[in-house]
């Protein structure tokens, strides 16, 4: 029948083999008919994958440094639920979280066909298996989410590092005998660094390239509440002027 003819294949895909009319509608030989359809799905999938890659370039962090133990390690996302599990078993019982529980879970997963050995296959007709899997799924998703949130919180609680990406290559200080330099060393260096490279406050190397003395006086006088007090906490306007005069000289390449 003409109707069946159109139902059992995608229009436009070739049919190299004569179909057996006795077979149920929709049944197809694996090659080439079914494989072509899979191929179409695969091609669409690959296009989406390639687009993702183009718009999400992979980054490389700094080279491995075994002496820098301040780095906060984080496993790849698909290990996060296991990583989170470990946090519930601190200290001497860590082996419960690292061996026993994952071991039990892995064994249960492998043994699934023998644990759920009834003949029925529909998920609603075997409520124990279905709800057990749903529960583990929810637990995994929740633990992954928790691990992510706790990691973000931890990162936020770490002292911020100064963004030095725009810092000039030449970092030599200009005129360090200037009276402004001495005031800076006692009052400002705590936040901006004795070498102007920044600590909790931003770096000031090359600040003279961007601002002149008048603008610097103005900026220091206003301050950056709440981190930097007005006048930078200096007692007199004269001192502000001296520091600004010295900072205006900091012209680096």
């Amino acid at each position: 029948m003409a109707h069946d003819h159109f139902r059992d294949r995608i229009p436009g895909t070739p049919r190299f083999k004569e179909k057996d009319k006795n077979k149920p509608i929709g049944t197809e030989p694996f090659f080439p008919n079914f494989l072509l359809k899979e191929w179409i799905v695969g091609a669409l999938f690959l296009v989406a994958f390639m687009l993702w890659i183009v718009f999400n370039p992979v980054e490389l962090t700094d080279v491995a440094n075994p002496s820098d133990s301040s780095y906060t390690p984080m496993p790849d996302w698909y290990f996060l639920f296991l990583y989170q599990l470990l946090k519930y078993f601190p200290g001497s019982v860590i082996w419960l979280g690292s061996v026993i529980l994952p071991g039990i879970a892995a064994t249960l997963l492998i043994m699934a066909p023998w644990l759920d050995n009834s003949k029925v296959r529909h998920p609603f007709k075997r409520p124990v298996a279905t709800s057990a899997m749903m529960l583990s799924l929810l637990l995994m998703i929740w633990m992954t989410y928790e691990a992510h949130v706790q990691h973000e919180e931890h990162l936020a609680s770490q002292p911020k590092k100064v963004d030095t990406s725009a810092m000039p290559a030449d970092t030599t200080l200009v005129d360090s005998a200037d009276p402004g330099a001495k005031i800076f060393a006692t009052s400002c260096a705590g936040c901006h660094g004795a070498d102007l490279k920044g600590v909790v406050g931003p770096f000031l190397i090359g600040v003279g390239n961007k601002y002149d003395e008048a603008k610097l006086v103005d900026t220091i006088t206003k301050g950056f509440p709440p981190n930097m007090p007005p006048k930078g906490g200096l007692p007199s306007d004269d001192q502000v002027k001296q520091v600004a005069a010295w900072l205006a000289k900091q012209k680096q390449k």
Binding site: K37, V99, M133
Partner: protein, 223 residues
Amino acid sequence: MFKKTYDWIDERLGITPIWRDIADHDVPAHVNPANKMSAFVYCFGGLTFLIIVTQILSGMFLAMYYVPDIVNAYRSVQYITDEVLLGQIVRGMHFWGASLVIIMMFLHMLRVFFTGSYKAPREMNWVVGVLIFFVVMGFGFTGYLLPWDQKAYWATAVGAQIAESVPWIGKYIRTVLIGGDMLGALTLTRFFAIHVFFLPAGLLGLLGLHFIMIRKQGIAGPL
């Protein structure tokens, strides 16, 4: 010409029966997305295999430039990313593909679970599938270290610490894993060897078993 060449090979290797077995079996209607749109859930296994193939290919091309020692590993990855023609793309494929394999494999596993497809006579194929899952997790763990950047190093340091927490034998597992007392040059070559020789050998063997069993046992009927 083509027919003659084929006949010559077939006479010696007898490939026709194998080829017929692969090509001619019928695929039932309920797994055919062209027949019923919701059958797309049956594509997850095939898509997982497709991504594994792209992982193998992109990995082979990365291996042309990658150097597994602690002096050059980082720089070679940098070189691949910044200098090699399409290097950024190939590295991106391998990096994102790793996550994608996990996602697709997980979806495939859930489909098999919720359709009860692991029931008799397909128990063995489920077991092999779970083993594939563990091998792929092994790929993820060993591959993470290879760029030798801060992220890689410290994540692996944590992994080694977890291995150490196993009672009694933890110390030995750690030593076998990282190749000594310290995470260093030996760890990198060891992880590289595991990542490109040991695990692929295991994976290909298991995948072969997986596919042979699908053919032997057939696809489970509609729910």
